[in-house]
Amino acid sequence: MRDEAPSRMIRHHPSEATLVSYGAGNLWEAAAVVVGAHLIHCAQCAATVRLAEKVGGAILDSLPPAALAPVMLERAMSRLNEVSSDVAAKADAQHPRRVTAVQGEGHSILPSLLRNAEWRWLAPGIRRAVLLRQPDDGTLHLLRVRSGTALPQHSHRGIELTLVIAGAFVDAAGHYGPDDVAEADEAVSHQPTAEGQDECVCLIATQGRLRFGSLASRLFSAFARI
């Protein structure tokens, strides 16, 4: 039942509020990808998501029934024959996630993310690839930062979720290593710095634009506008 890959202690997690929205299926997509990648290696957060799913079940059960045309049942019944049952899916589905977790040393989604990434130079020692940019779903970036390089001091509109894929970084809130998630909201202004021997690779979900330096103070006037 356990992930047999050697796992380091995960010290930083998404907030419970974020995990609830993930379990509810209602989290903006860039954030959902970051949380999903974290869950592969974090049993504690996976348990919280399962609790949120149970809450979802209870909410579903308590919803007032909507009017449904009687023909809907007939239609569904008549479609049962065209849908093959997934008997094969059973054997298939009992292990696949475990297989993914054990197979990959790191994140199982990393290879496909890297394959599709178009790296752009952002600043000395910093390269970035944008994987998704949608108004309602936020922006998903991959960032590679040379060890010792500091990102400019910045704050955020909305929430920023950062998952360490490789390497490590440090900011005022602590040290972050592989599988750790840093969740920063509007109140946080920070200056992450890559540390350790190797470059730091992070998967980052942001809402709105980052706010740098002296602009930080304007954030609060802007945040009513999200």
């Binding site: 039942m1 356990r2 997690h13 907030s15 419970e16 509020a17 609830v20 929205s21 509810a24 209602n26 997509e29 959902a32 990808v33 869950l39 049993a43 504690q44 957060c45 996976a46 348990a47 919280t48 399962r50 609790l51 799913e53 149970k54 809450v55 979802g56 079940g57 209870a58 909410i59 579903l60 919803l63 029934p65 909507a66 009017a67 449904l68 045309a69 809907m72 049942l73 569904a76 019944m77 479609r79 849908v83 049952s85 997934d86 008997v87 899916a89 589905a93 696949p96 996630r97 989604i109 496909s112 994987l131 998704l132 949608q134 509109r157 909201d185 109140a187 809402q207 945040f223 009513a224």
Partner: protein
């Protein structure tokens, strides 16, 4: 404890629904499907309608998709891991996510990632496997009543409303930190009610 008989009744309804899903898997039982459809389809329709994007016809189609997936995937149902309503909720939730994604052109790579997550197994089997899921689900209903109105409101928005906590904060005119704190407290209360206070804390 007040509401005990009601809770037991809910638990027995839950066990009954679970048995019907198992019957789909074992016997391709069409009568069981009909019973499940009658119970869940009208609630699923409300779920999709409240979720925002779907109009009446789309909601009907999403209900169909959900119930056909219940039929197809019944063999994957494991009542020790999730009760019937939780399992069907996760199917409906994924269908809603797919529909959202279809409504814009999303890079295929992200679709792949989420498929990956779709049937994630229980990584910490143990404590809560031992408690019957149907029993737990029944207990949750009672626990909802103990949430404050403010907590319940934020919880509803997390499931049906805005897709970011900042937007929820805007809608309610309260700080982002308050939204997150209310969700955390609501979850803590529900977790305690399920008797898995030791499951995790974070």
């Amino acid at each position: 404890m007040t509401g005990q008989p009601e809770q037991e009744e809910r638990a027995s309804v839950g066990q009954d629904l679970a048995a019907r899903i198992e019957s789909l898997a074992q016997k391709r039982d069409r009568a069981a499907f009909e019973a499940l459809f009658r119970h869940f389809a009208p609630r699923l329709k409300t779920y999709f309608l409240r979720s925002g994007t779907a109009g009446d016809a789309e909601a009907d189609e999403m209900v169909q998709e959900t119930m056909l997936l219940v039929w197809r995937k019944a063999a994957l149902f494991d009542r020790r891991k999730a009760g019937a309503t939780t399992w069907i909720f996760t199917i409906a939730r994924n269908i809603r996510t797919d529909a959202r994604r279809r409504s814009r052109s999303s890079p295929a790579l992200l679709a792949d990632c989420s498929k990956e997550m779709e049937w994630m197994p229980d990584p910490v089997s143990g404590a809560d496997d031992l408690l019957a899921s149907a029993q737990q689900e029944a207990g949750l209903h009672e626990a909802f009543a103990t949430l404050s109105l403010a907590q319940r409101q934020v919880l509803d928005l997390a499931y049906f409303g805005e897709r970011s906590h900042s937007e929820i904060a805007n809608r309610l005119g309260i700080p982002l930190g308050t939204v997150k704190a209310r969700l955390r407290l609501a979850l803590a209360r529900l977790r305690t009610a399920l008797g898995c206070g030791g499951c995790d804390e974070g």
